[in-house]
Symmetry: C2
């Protein structure tokens, strides 16, 4: 793919039941992206892509997002080494969401900056609580030593 232009959106029938990839980028130029472990199915993270991210992800087969906080292209693992090798790219019925199936690689095999394999490392402990508490479901794979680290 030499440019970052995807086909224009056509009709609902073609978008929903056709075979042309015509992703819907929002008014901010972004499309939500769910990233899942290709083998286990574990949801690893959720992020956004712009057209360039998606084009580069397809070209390089390395997950490349758009960082909203840093306002720049974000090649996952570029700094940490925890790259994601893309095995499959899916889209949903109305093509306004992407789903990547990846092999999470790198020194820690962690998708989350807090050191966990998946960003979804906490669940609501009991669905019957009136004041729901979170419960950890995993241990970190490395000590992130970030500003978020609790004393």
């Amino acid at each position: 793919m030499s440019s970052f232009v995807f086909p224009a959106r056509t009709t609902p029938a073609e978008i929903e039941l056709g075979t042309t990839l015509q992703p819907k980028f929002g008014t901010d130029g972004l499309i939500p992206c769910i990233t899942q472990d290709a083998t286990s199915g574990e949801v690893l993270m959720f992020a956004f892509m712009n057209a360039e991210s998606l084009a580069r992800t397809l070209q390089t087969k390395k997950a490349t997002y758009w960082s909203r906080s840093r306002n720049k292209l974000w090649i996952k693992g570029e700094e940490s080494g925890n790259v994601q090798h893309v095995r499959e790219v899916r889209t949903d019925c109305d093509q306004d969401v992407l789903l990547l199936k990846v092999e999470q690689a790198g020194p820690a095999n962690a998708a989350c900056h807090n050191g966990y394999k998946s960003c979804f490392y906490r669940k609501v402990a009991s669905l019957d609580d009136s004041a729901p508490k979170l419960q950890f479901t995993a241990r970190p794979l490395f000590d992130p030593a970030t500003v978020y680290k609790k004393k």
Copy 2:
């Protein structure tokens, strides 16, 4: 939960590594929600929730979203019967995304209005194509007979 008010957001450390559910609803009052089959791990759909949706999902254990197109609360399966029984509710590191693990029930066991079990029924056929085409990965479980139906 008698009201739809969740705890106010506190510090990054508490949000990321604490046990208080303090979800971030955007300026539009919505939080993205990924819904996954509790058994197979298949990602079924992606939608949004507002505070009332989340509170009702926790209360009733039936997935309840916010329909942006209809601008109303959307109890999944209320009309089709294809309800989602919620087994687990997760959130991500910065608590701005939700992940539901559900048992998809109902007459068709389909999460997608187009008749598919999952909305993600198409993948990019080849990651090496300069003009990527989509390829179907599943057959519909029912004939949706919607306006999107292809002739």
